[in-house]
Assembly symmetry: C2
Homo-oligomer: 391 residues x 2
DNA sequence: AACCTTGAGTTCACTTCTTGAACATGCGAG
DNA sequence: CTCGCATGTTCAAGAAGTGAACTCAAGGTT
């Protein structure tokens, strides 16, 4: 009776069966709504085996087969049972809160954003998230008990294992908060946490520009700079849980002071908050990253220059990443990425210039396709991939 | 007839069988010379299965059972067949050639090094390796047909998949050579190639300082600078096959010209060849890395300073690596590492200083324990782990 | 000395799984 | 309208793991 999740003794036939069930579920997850034949091809299993496993998992309520409305044969799409549960993604940005609800078939069924004060406490933020989530759930006729898990995105370094935020987070009200536990207590459902860059990477690799790539890097350039590293199809967190902090590699020993306590970090040359500082003499106070991008796109010379330089510096850092990890694809996201080629061109140029030739030759620097939804969608994907109903 | 090594399609029964064969072999390796009952207990497999697998592998010549000399029943110790096959590791350094022979029990049974001219052609080098290998084989009473595979270590970037050397190799006579194929033709046995840093990483993780670590980095500082990155227990090569080129991350846009064509690469600040350049005014021509280390250890002030500075610069680069990958362990090897704390202290200090605090806090910078044998042993491990008879 | 206990390794019947082949089904192209 | 063809299902055969029964030998017990 399809008891996935439970693990049989390793090496036994039933463990093989379970492994193959996981393979099938993973294939469905990866492909969205494949046919059984697709699954057979992508997993390498025989059609017969796939047929058996799909029947079992359908009986167990894990998968559903949609009889191709047309009524006939020719492709019965298999997908994860939507009624089996919902996933909630919550993204805390530096000035906004965004919540999305999706089902196991990876369809986003509801999504909403609202502004949130940077200085808000963790309690305030979670309270707002709670209300937003409940509101969205009621619009889709569901309740909290339908929620399999909640993915939480926070800016700044976080240990995904313990769920504790580092001190250098962008949200001062959150420093040192054991975010995962706190959210679990308030929301009453399993919570998974990760930082914004890792979630962006997860989203882009699941739905976006890096789809189908087992190895890739996602660079988020917004107010700060961070990276999500995808290795073997999964976001790599590293032994310490905070991998991907590309924003704080040193470009210049004697450079500007960074909020992390070092000097000359990449972030101080490419992060939106530092660009605002740079542009203060010409543009005054209150310049946001979004505004800088807008001005740059409309031809404002200082802003164009600032964005271009940010791209060059970011490219130098990415070149280092390319030397170390030799990826085929680097996806660029975050607010500053909305400047398009104003940012990407100098960035790609810097990579070609600074990376070792064998690394520069194979890497493509492309913009993310999910925009400011990347983080919420990643939070959603976090639930769908990390605590899947059965996987 | 026990065709281990060849991998069946994942998910199939035969793949399960292979996995269980590996389990048994691993158990034997871990325990030394266990009985079948011991194996059954430690693997969780049934005694019947163990019996079958042991019979197969014995017939295949991989395992041997010693009939407890006493003649009777009661514990037939199982061990890896020493004669089942040998692995050969070959390491081409910038000035030497080193060959080691090991058996499936991971014991090194013969090892020898000889000087080799830097300018030697690939054909010369392979010829010398051939003679050295044959000589060593005869000393252990074996022939080439006993060799299961040959691991080849070369300095410089190499695509492990295609086996072609990049142009920036340290050995000019090898540039563009399709090393794996060339060696296979000459030596007539399966050949696996990788670069020196990756092999050092593999060796340290298999036998040395990083043993038991699934994630770690190995930095080789010798004439050049390179890294081997271990992720999930395996050396990570990246999509392009040349990951780990830490020697060519840019520390200074306007720094010294590097042989890779860029300027201010880490290698130009920490690589032995550049230190020799730096010390030319005080010490004249012909300074080797080994000599610099020796002088530094014996108190020569310029050399101490040069080594210390190299450590600081290397540490800055390693800090970037720590920010990106957040490892718990960084092993330092290569000729310059023989300077011990003269190099490691400033290096660790630079990491503490330049890496983000969460990354600096958890990382240990330790010296490798395999010295200049690291690469050969890694080449040996390459054979034992990548195409192991069955392992 | 004869006997019993105990654990090791093997054999056998049984069950679980995967798989290739054969088969039914229905959409598209010609 | 028919044929080709890919899809999904069923079936029998083969591969593999497992518990139980069995053989075997050492070592202690009576």
């Amino acid at each position: 009776m399809s008891t996935p999740g439970s693990s049989a003794t390793p090496g036994s036939q039933s463990s093989l069966r379970e492994a193959n069930q996981r393979r099938v579920i993973q294939a469905v997850r990866d492909a969205g709504a494949p046919t059984q034949a697709d699954i057979a091809r992508s997993t390498g299993l025989s059609r017969a085996t796939v047929s058996n496993i799909v029947r079992e998992l359908s009986a167990g309520g894990v998968l559903v087969t949609t009889p191709t409305s047309a009524g006939g044969r020719r492709a019965r799409a298999v997908s994860l049972a939507p009624a089996a549960g919902l996933a909630v993604g919550v993204d805390f940005g530096h000035s906004h809160l965004r919540v999305a609800i999706g089902n196991l078939a990876r369809e986003v069924v509801a999504e909403q954003a609202m502004p949130l004060d940077v200085g808000a406490s963790a309690a305030d933020g979670l309270g707002a998230a709670e209300r937003l989530m409940d509101g969205l759930l009621s619009t889709v006729g569901a309740t909290r008990t339908d929620v399999l898990g909640i993915g939480l995105g926070v800016p700044g370094p976080i240990d995904a294992a313990s769920g504790t935020l580092g001190s250098s987070t962008i949200l001062p009200g959150w420093a040192g908060i054991e975010a995962a536990g706190e959210a679990r207590r308030r929301l009453g459902r399993p919570v998974h946490v990760d930082n914004d860059a890792n979630l962006g990477a997860l989203a882009e690799v699941t739905w976006g520009a890096a789809r189908g790539h087992a190895d890739a890097a996602y660079i988020k350039i917004g107010s700060g700079v961070g990276a999500g590293i995808v290795i073997g199809g999964r976001v790599y967190h590293g032994p310490g849980g905070t991998a991907g902090e590309i924003g704080h590699i040193t470009l210049n020993e004697n450079g500007p002071m960074c909020r992390c306590g070092n000097r000359g970090c990449l972030e101080t040359y490419a992060g939106g908050r530092y660009l605002a500082e740079l542009l203060r003499p010409t543009h005054g106070d209150g310049l946001t990253t979004a505004r800088i991008v807008k001005l740059a796109l409309s031809g404002d010379a200082p802003c164009r220059r600032a964005v271009g330089d940010a791209g060059r510096y970011a490219g130098t850092g990415v070149a280092g990443l390319c030397n170390l990890l030799n990826p085929r694809l680097v996806v660029v996201g975050g607010d500053l990425a909305r400047a398009g080629n104003l940012l990407l061109e100098p960035m790609a140029e810097a990579v070609r210039r600074s990376a070792i030739s064998s690394a520069a030759a194979i890497v493509s620097i492309v913009p993310g396709v999910l925009g400011d939804r990347a983080e919420v969608l990643g939070a959603l994907a976090l639930v769908l991939t990390s605590s899947p109903s059965p996987a």
